[in-house]
């Protein structure tokens, strides 16, 4: 492929991923409200469009037309830039994620990955982790008690789960011997029994738990828990800036779904009679649903419990897992 062709293809891919995933993130809010409502025996949004599907549009109009308020004592540039960090990192992380298997369109072979870098996992996790700068900066810049508490909790959360994410993913990486998500995916190409989740169940559970903390979803949604700190880091935000945090959060959930399915659940390999493209969509949808499901079912933990859980329970287990995997590999 020529350089110009490569650039054009990459730009097209970027636009498609950006458009598709911001739409999906928006639609994710609708799904979340609907699923939560059903689980709590409510109807959820019902009035905009059939079964309320156009609620996202109504929300979008509302967010776009709202006044963009910047509090008097806020640190203005940081306050303004923080939500952009949140949304941008979420989408940058998607750049190294192979979304579908290769396919052919108009005679051109398409790799549905923007940048196939050989340290894919590292890149995605790193960028997602740096996304936590968004709540941290937002909370500290907005000159609000609740915002500050939210920011402090962000720091706690980051310190707690980041170790677990890294250690839990180490064991499967030792098995595969590569950091590229495509290599990891190909490692599991032998079908259902080849999925890493069967050889590394502990790592899978740990990674999911850390993922919940990473996307600050319910058992660990300390940063903006309404009942305790109003809205945490987002207390002072309104309009589209607030919306960007949420697009970021939902995009992160989708990215995490992709990561978990690629690393542990067989990725986009064909699954029995289901073609690979559909298989990964199904897996990611299930993981997304699982995020919403736990939100309806489980209470959330206190910050000290989170630290306790991550450092005293999950980290030792993760280390043990790595050691045992190493011994088994050496034998």
């Amino acid at each position: 492929m020529t350089t110009t062709g490569f650039i054009i293809a990459t730009i097209i891919k970027i636009l498609v991923v950006l458009g598709l995933f911001s739409a999906l993130a928006g639609f994710g809010t609708y799904l979340e409200r609907k699923v939560l409502a059903f689980m709590q025996r409510r109807l959820g949004p019902m009035h905009v469009g059939p079964y309320g599907v156009l609620q996202v549009l109504a929300d979008g109009i509302k967010l776009f037309t709202k006044e963009d308020i910047i509090p008097q004592n806020a640190v203005k540039p940081i306050f303004m830039i923080a939500p952009i960090i949140g949304a941008a990192t979420a989408f940058i992380a998607l750049a190294a994620v192979p979304i579908l298997p290769e396919f052919e369109i108009f005679g051109v072979k398409v790799h549905p990955i923007i940048a196939d870098i050989n340290v894919g996992v590292l890149f995605v996790l790193g960028v997602m982790a740096s996304g936590l700068f968004a709540p941290l900066l937002a909370g500290m810049a907005s000159s609000n008690k609740w915002g500050l508490l939210g920011a402090a909790r962000t720091a706690i959360q980051l310190l707690s789960y980041e170790v677990v994410t890294g250690l839990s993913i180490l064991a499967p990486l030792m098995l595969v011997g590569s950091l590229s998500l495509i290599d990891i995916n190909n490692y599991q190409s032998g079908g259902f029994t080849d999925w890493i989740v069967w050889s590394q169940p502990v790592a899978f559970v740990l990674f999911l738990i850390a993922g919940f903390a990473e996307t600050n979803r319910t058992p660990f949604d300390l940063l903006e828990h309404e009942a305790e700190i109003v809205s945490g880091y987002a207390t002072e935000y309104s309009g589209m800036r607030w919306g960007m945090f949420f697009i970021g959060e939902y995009a992160n959930m989708i990215t995490l779904g992709f990561l978990a399915s690629l690393i542990f659940l067989g990725g986009f390999n064909d699954w029995g009679f289901i073609p690979g493209g559909l298989a990964i969509v199904l897996k990611v949808s299930f993981l997304f649903f699982f995020f919403l499901w736990t939100r309806a079912a489980w209470p959330h933990v206190r910050p000290d419990q989170l630290m306790w859980l991550c450092w005293k329970v999950l980290m030792p287990i993760a280390v043990l897992n790595v050691v045992v995997t190493g011994i088994v590999l050496m034998m």
């Binding site: 699923v35 059903f38 689980m39 709590q40 025996r41 409510r42 109807l43 019902m46 499901w293 736990t294 309806a296 079912a297 489980w298 329970v313």
Partner: protein, 204 residues
């Protein structure tokens, strides 16, 4: 919830005392508790419960302005004035008891003698801004003329709405269609009123 259940005021409160264990003190006990809770699968019970509710699709949403929950007949909302069933005349005889008993002092009525020297109520109004919906007026009325209605949505452009005589009095066409139902609520005669009447002492 059906109306019958709703009207049943003799609710027995079945409180169950749930024993709460003392939190563990020693580190080893704490550890044991964590292990016990982790492998007990309580988290999955929670997941199953919400999932079951989702697939049951047994929703309890009331789409409020379009549908409403039944309210008790004893509910005391915006007042109504009733008419006599046969003649269609206003039941109110202008005795003024309601005006007298009203503790918020918000009923005002004007009366005069009509051509046949009968008392006629020309104006009857309740200041809803002051009414505390105590129901004394409905209880004291000897003619069951003023009763409490079921209309609890009293938002309006004007405070005076709802509460003038014309607003409260049963419309004549409504009465002719037989839609004025006897008020079963506050201050109304009980269904077995006849049995409960005692002879006055002068009879024996």
């Amino acid at each position: 919830m059906s109306l019958e259940q709703f009207k049943d005021r003799n609710v027995v409160q079945n409180y169950v005392h749930i024993p709460v264990d003392k939190p563990p003190q020693k580190p080893m006990d704490k550890f044991k508790q964590v292990v016990r809770r982790t492998f007990k699968g309580e988290l999955f019970v929670g997941l199953w419960v919400v999932f079951r509710e989702m697939i049951k699709r047994d929703f309890h949403t009331v789409k409020y302005p379009l549908e409403k929950l039944p309210i008790s007949p004893r509910y005391r909302a915006v007042h109504k004035l009733y008419r006599l069933l046969e003649s269609g005349n206003n039941r109110c005889i202008g005795c003024g008891l309601c005006e007298k008993i009203c503790i918020a002092n918000c009923i005002r009525l004007e009366t005069r003698y009509d051509e046949k020297q009968r008392k006629e109520v020309t104006e009857y109004s309740i200041n809803l801004g002051r009414c505390i919906f105590c129901g004394y007026c409905a209880e004291v009325c000897p003619e069951l003329a003023i009763v409490h209605g079921q209309r609890y949505e009293n938002a309006s452009e004007q405070r005076a709405h709802f509460v003038l005589k014309d607003d409260m009095l049963t419309p004549l066409d409504f009465l002719k269609e037989g839609k004025q139902e006897e008020f079963p609520g506050f201050g109304a005669v009980s269904p077995n009123a006849d049995e409960r009447i005692k002879k006055t002492p002068t009879a024996y």
